[in-house]
Amino acid sequence: MRARAVYLIATALIVASWLANYGYYRYYRLPEPGFLRHYIETTYTPSVAFDLLYVANKDDKRKPISATADGLEALRFYPVQVHQELSRQTIYALRGYFDENRMQERPEGEPLRLNALKVQYSDGSVREEDVGEIIAYRPAWPPDKTKEPPVRFSSGRGSSDNSGTTVVTAVRQITLSGVSSAWLEKLGDSFRYEIRTTDTHGMPQPLSESTVPLELDTEQTVSLEYQFKLREAADVLSVYNVQLREHFAEPDGNQYDYIVFANYTPYPTDAQMRAYVREMRGRAE
């Protein structure tokens, strides 16, 4: 009788273990694989375009292999790569670039705003997918290289804590009139940037905080430091490609924009991915 009770209790524990673990496993499966939310600023010139991150449950066989966008005919993608393996999900990265051989001569155009891309999958299917918001600036192509830019790159740094710095040096007298990006308003307190400059030009002195407008003499440096501070679950798993445009004005009235690339690419922890799955589940229900 005692043995039977032991056997029954053991069997009940085994069944409970399977039910609980299976329930937990099911709960933290993504209801639907899909692209993370992207907030991209890109420039339609031959270069790296942007990465598209796609998250799927580990046993999902279907993966994206390429994508196309109307108006960005030169957009091509390298073979899909695993960006990050988590305990239940895999994040894949499609690395896009603008192919120089496919660039056609054009005048400067209005920025192109995209929300959906046509995505080709490994199973042969093609679907229009909402990937977030992409803004593609379209300068004239080929570019006018007759005029020397008024600033040159001096140094740069990027860190895994989603911060970075870019320092440029004025090659002639110039005024930094401001810094802008399409995503600054959306990011709000989740993104900080700071402009610093040397007090006197030509000497290796520490940078001090500055505000715009900022007049720069020849060989004076200006640094732009930025940091992402994303905390909300939905934001932590978003992709941000921020183009911080430093607007320079020359004494003759000419304008020049120097672009500082501030990118946030998510590497979520398992806990952050669970929070994301809960949010996706909430949206699906």
């Binding site: 053991a10 273990s17 399977w18 673990n21 496993y25 046993d59």
Partner: protein, 207 residues
């Protein structure tokens, strides 16, 4: 009857050992379960526990044929670095549960047989090994679903310990079958130890 127990011991041993060369199983489980069934077939009329073991061995035989044909694949590598899928875990658990039923039937059948012949020591031995097999198998069945949510690497020491317990419980039951062959072969009350027409000497196992 000694030959029947000898077949059971060989069958258990062959089902337990997997020798693969380039993915090809040199000692397929189907041979082991076939031998087990052949041995148990001689005993099913003695008590219903042998019948339970025979039925479980028959299911395992079918599963091992399917595995041999590449239609199913239970079990997973502890060192391959690949997380087992839900299907692999479920199949492994199902195979383990059937194995437990088979070992339970075999041990309990031997225990009942031994009691019928006043072989107290053998009966106790059969009961203890049944308990050990159940404890290690149940422990393994309990921990398997945790691998859906924990990485195998995190649980590896615990899983290896349980796997060694399951392996050892099989080995003790192989020895039990050998002991039963020696002690309860022959008619009830005869004291055992006899051979059925000298068959026991044709297949034997050296442990």
């Amino acid at each position: 009857m000694k030959r029947a127990f000898s077949r059971i011991a060989w069958g258990l041993g062959l089902a337990l050992i997997d020798v693969t060369v380039n993915g090809f199983d040199l000692l397929p489980d189907v041979v082991g379960y076939g031998l087990l069934m052949a041995g148990l077939a001689k005993l099913v009329s003695r008590n219903r526990m042998y019948k339970l073991a025979w039925n479980a061995a028959a299911v395992q035989l079918v599963l091992s044929v399917l595995a041999l044909l590449g239609l199913t694949r239970s079990g997973f590598s502890l060192t391959g670095g690949i997380e087992p899928s839900l299907n692999a875990l479920a199949l492994t658990a199902a195979g383990l549960a059937i194995e437990l039923a088979m070992l339970y039937g075999l041990c309990e059948g031997i225990r009942l047989d031994a009691l019928e012949r006043d072989k107290e020591r053998l009966a106790r031995s059969a009961r203890n090994r049944r308990h050990f097999a159940f404890a290690s198998g149940a422990g393994m069945l309990f921990q398997l679903p945790f691998q859906l949510n924990q990485s195998l690497q995190e649980m590896l020491p615990f899983v290896i310990l349980l796997a060694l317990c399951v392996l050892f419980s099989w080995l003790t039951i192989v020895a039990l079958a050998r002991q039963a062959g020696r002690e309860i072969a022959g008619n009830p009350g005869s004291g055992g130890g006899g051979l059925d027409d000298g068959e026991g000497s044709m297949i034997d196992m050296r442990v």
